[in-house]
Symmetry: C2
Subunit: 118 residues, 2 copies
Amino acid sequence: METLNAAELLAALGHESRLSVFRLLVEAGPEGIVASAIGEKLGLPPATLSFHLAHLSRVGLIRGRKESRFIRYCAEYATMDELIAFLTRNCCQGEACLPKTATCDTIAKRRKCGDGNP
Amino acid sequence: METLNAAELLAALGHESRLSVFRLLVEAGPEGIVASAIGEKLGLPPATLSFHLAHLSRVGLIRGRKESRFIRYCAEYATMDELIAFLTRNCCQGEACLPKTATCDTIAKRRKCGDGNP
DNA sequence: TCCATATTTCAATAATAGTCGAAATATTGA
DNA sequence: TCAATATTTCGACTATTATTGAAATATGGA
């Protein structure tokens, strides 16, 4: 991933409403959530929600599939992963970095960078 | 550190110039880089660079320390770590996610989320 | 077909962010 | 003190983004 593309993804997530939508979908898992339910949960007017969903879709962070009258959205985990990989690539010259504890098991593993450790 | 404002951090990184600055500092490691060298490397005019450095500093993604006439900036790895932890917290309902290969050892470990695996 | 519901598009407006020359400030070494 | 260099602030301008009501489109069920 190049810088330009990463900046686009980060900008998409750098908005309170869009980040809330994305987090909701990340937590929802592969099953996703239909648009109207997202709007209800976050209290966003239809036009506003549509605008933000379109933005997140355009950059590839979420995907929507038509399902009868609804559109069901889910997070694109692969895109998020690439983004995180980009952010941490070649980090910190082999020093320890990213040392904080975290909630998710996998995050807890992410303690040192570039130290060749399992 | 105050409470994490993830959208603010993401918006700060969601600009090509700022992301370039941040990546440069992430790769530079704890030693950091002086402002003028950053500007030269990225081809940013002093006023523009100052604007972006101030922005990144304000949200806590980088830190500058005066060093004689220069200001030496370095990445705040802890902030980035909190941000990544936030993005991946409670992800995907125990399904496999973030499955892509990555450059950094620590990233390579980050393969499943919430599966109770080491 | 007709109605109710889901979502998008349109359009006007409001708000915010980015750019960078020039002037100001700070620091150091001569 | 003076000149050179590093960085910030100011100010004016440009560009982009966000908001949302209302109208349009799409779908499925009665």
